[in-house]
Amino acid sequence: MREVAILGIGQTVVDEHWEKSLREIGGEAAFAALQDAGLQQVDALYVGNMLSPIVNGQNQLGTFFSDWIGLWGQEAVKLEAACGSGAAAFRSGLMAVASGEVESALVVGVEKMSDKAGHDVTAALATAADADYEVEQGVSFVGLNALVMRRYMHEYGWNHADFGPFPINAHANAMHNPYARLHEKVTPERFEKASMVATPISLLDASPTGDGAAAAILVPAEKVAHLPNRPRVKVAGSASATDTIAIHSRRDPLFLQAAYSSAKRAYEMAGVAPEDIDVFEIHDAFSIMAVLSLEACGFAERGQGVRLGLDNEIGPTGRIPVCTRGGLKARGHPVGATGMYQIVEVAQQLRGECGPTQVADAKIGMAQNIGGSGATILTHILKAG
């Protein structure tokens, strides 16, 4: 396998884009990435998306986008792993270039959610869970995460307010990201007063969905090495792991086994350890998921991930900066696109493009994308230079 570099990145603002279609949103990010890379054509296209058959009535997104972007005739395919679809597509693009099968790949994560009403989107999101034995009980996707959060608070003795630093950090960082969905500060008082979606998860524990797309161009690293004035970001580690589809089937519902496994393999591949990671874009779909992800990846002991927030370790100058562009909580969570936003944001950190939330001297960054309630987890490690 040969080393692979990210030659270009692109993204759209996460929002309710009433005036733009699925095509236009995905195209916008793809064209931005192609322009950033200085390319007009690539050998293959990988699309990450979760909901288009349900919400947009459109399938076959590989060809749908190769046609729109002008990659007529090229190989194109969609990857789906619920909210982990973006990173799943990225890993496929990575494998294609690393193996020598293609010389360049465009990866686009895209989601257009505002074409359906809220409760229909809630039902569509629940398709990530077990249809026969979870969804049929009326549990929403938020509800599944709420079951995990309640038990975590019970076992480790944390209060709801203790989770506040995670959304507060995410919102503070998003103030400086023009692509973020939300630009509003959250205070501890506001966090405590937020209305409940599924107890104990409130509106300020849960990430807002939205329309958005993010894209990257992958090429062999040796091709980038000689280009002048070109930011160099290499993919140093990539791994994917799975757990049971339903939370009730897990031996330990409070441990993200697939996060642990995929992070471990990605660390080994990149030759790094948790203490080497300068910036970590976590999958904070809910504040409990941020905490469990940090624990499984080796940044905190079991039951102690909450403390990283309380001890101010997660801000851009902390020990392990997370959600530096707003995270899912404030940049927004256009589900199948999210994994690619994370990759783009880590690349921005390694390129030094993050303004007030730039992590000083960031050289190694990690992105972790989660499909379902911990069912599919992909971890990627990027390196500058």
Partner: protein, 136 residues
């Protein structure tokens, strides 16, 4: 409407029929082809008692379509006394506050209408506070 799917799940929905592994005796719900305990083939049917306790719970205020008219309602992870965990709604709670560890038992209740108000009525398992719960 998904009539074949509802019909196919009738043993599980109405009778809490899962499996017992013939190799390691682990009790399994929902039924699956491979025993999660020993990895061997598991296809022997086993009927659960329907008794268990609340492992975790949540009250859902924003419901998925199909369940809107029931909100708010409470969903729990119930640890069955035979071992497995099950996701199910709690019912017949009255004024009683839900607590982790609370003993519960299975009952059959209406889940929702599949389709519009004239659609198939889907029945299934929910759990209510156990009658033999210690008083005071």
């Amino acid at each position: 409407m998904e009539i074949p799917r509802h019909w196919r799940l009738k043993q599980q929905r109405y009778g809490l029929v899962g499996e017992v592994c013939p190799h390691c005796d682990a009790k399994i719900f929902p039924p699956r082809d491979v025993c999660p305990n020993c990895g061997d083939e598991a296809k022997t049917l086993y009927t659960f008692s329907g008794k268990g306790e609340v492992f975790s719970y949540t009250t859902i205020y924003e419901a998925p379509s199909g369940f809107d008219s029931n909100a708010p309602y409470t969903v729990a992870l119930v640890k069955l006394e035979e071992g497995p965990m099950i996701t199910a709604q709690l019912t017949d709670l009255g004024e009683q506050p839900v607590e982790i560890g609370m003993p519960v038992e299975m009952v059959t209740r209406k889940m929702r209408n599949d389709g519009d108000e004239r659609g198939l009525i889907v029945y299934g398992y929910k759990f209510r506070p156990a009658w033999n719960m210690p008083q005071g």
